[in-house]
């Protein structure tokens, strides 16, 4: 880093939103004129259930337990050993690992004509579902089907 500015080297700016960034806000917020709503929204329950999926539940606990058990603590002492470094460079680090319950809907919501960030999200969830299901995608689909049945 040649340029050392207090903000971390670059000028921070808000990024224009993609739909995926604000789906929870749009579903939940805004003026309510409830007595007038009469249109049926097909599929709305899927959108809203997914947006609220982060609740304390057995599913959440089992998922955390699984994730903690998978940790390879040997690496820990090497503090960012080579394998970890490689991984964060090749997979984009947090981005690919931390996508939660919303990525399913986000994929459903984002069309071809959308901005940059959505593409990234699509490719990360595609990658995950092809790897025979990570625990996060499994647990979210599990709770969804349980609720809708």
């Amino acid at each position: 880093m040649a340029v050392a500015r207090p903000t971390g080297g670059y000028l921070e700016r808000p990024r224009p939103s993609g739909l995926a960034d604000v789906v929870d806000v749009i579903l939940d917020k805004g003026l309510v004129i409830d007595a007038f709503v009469r249109v049926s929204l097909i599929g709305i329950e899927i959108l809203t259930i997914d947006a609220r999926i982060v609740i304390a539940s057995v599913d959440t606990y089992l998922r955390f337990a699984e994730a903690v058990n998978r940790l390879d603590l040997v690496q820990e002492d090497q503090s960012q050993g080579l394998p970890e470094l490689m991984e964060s460079m090749t997979s984009g680090g947090a981005e690919s690992k931390t996508k939660g319950a919303l990525s399913g809907i986000k994929e459903a919501l984002t069309g071809d004509d959308d901005e940059d960030d959505d593409d990234k999200e699509k490719s990360s969830s595609r990658r995950r579902s092809s790897s025979s299901g990570s625990s996060s995608s499994r647990s979210s689909s599990r709770s969804r089907s349980r609720k809708s049945s």
Binding site: I26, D28, G30, S40, L41, F64, A65, G93, T98
Partner: protein, 256 residues
């Protein structure tokens, strides 16, 4: 009063009559977006023929209309999926009875924008930290690893529960840090629930348009401070979804 084949009106948002300008993007069902005006207020609406809407597709239309309309004006977004009987109903039951409240809200939000700051934990770093700092978690983890899936079921739930509590404590701390730094440079703040299990915080701020740069600098400093532990997403400016809060009850004249 059920009416067959009667087109209804989808409502997107309300803005000041002085700010009315055409919206060129298509609305819900691809319909043209127009305005219904009353007493210095305008409602953005489009005609709707269907009784049911595919939520995912029309959410996009709703969002686009509001994005475009709010480029040069302050718009109060109406909750997604709001439909009224007719233009006359928009005028007589939305704008007229609520004119004072709507005008006041528009005044409060004028010249201000919503900026969202969301954080997601790097899951692996987060969990390593939990295992390292909580002796209980560390010990139970060792035990669970020696048990079969069936035998360790309840221990695994207990382990997950402990981890979830540790994560919740970190969330609280990080959310507190964000608010302490950003609230002073904002007009108002809202905390929303995180939307994934590795979510760290989900915050909405109302910021004076002319102070966005100052707010951004504070976000930049926090980004540097959080480092790789938290992936920060800083998005906006948005129409003030989180700050246009009002239940405009229909009162006794509720239309059913």
């Amino acid at each position: 009063m059920p009416q067959d084949n009667h087109a209804s009106v989808y409502v997107y948002g309300v803005l000041s009559g002085a700010d009315l300008a055409g919206v060129s993007v298509g609305g819900v069902e691809g319909a043209e977006v127009r305005t219904v005006e009353h007493a210095g207020l305008g409602a953005l609406v489009s005609t709707l023929s269907a009784d049911a809407l595919a939520a995912a597709r029309e959410l996009r239309a709703h969002w686009r209309v509001l994005e475009e309309a709010s480029k040069g004006a302050t718009v109060l977004p109406v909750r997604f999926g709001t439909v009224m009987e007719s233009d006359a109903a928009v005028r007589e039951r939305l704008l007229e009875p609520n004119a004072e409240r709507l005008t006041e809200l528009l005044g409060e939000l004028a010249g201000r924008v919503q900026l969202n700051v969301k954080g997601d934990y790097d899951e692996e770093r987060l969990l390593r930290d939990v295992v390292r700092t909580s002796p209980q978690v560390g010990a139970l983890r060792e035990r669970v690893r020696t048990l079969s899936d069936a035998a360790g079921y309840y221990d695994r739930i207990r382990l997950g529960e402990l981890v979830a509590a540790e994560v919740a404590a970190r969330r609280q701390q990080d959310e507190g840090l964000m608010l302490a730094r950003l609230e002073p440079v904002a007009v108002a703040a809202r905390t929303e629930p995180v939307s994934s299990q590795t979510g760290a915080f989900n915050l909405a701020f109302l910021v004076e348009s002319k102070e966005v740069d100052q707010f951004s600098a504070a976000v930049g400093a926090l980004r540097a401070e959080l480092g790789e532990r938290v992936e920060l997403r800083y998005v906006g400016p948005l129409p003030p979804y989180s700050f246009a809060e009002a239940d405009l009850g229909a009162g006794a004249e509720a239309w059913a």
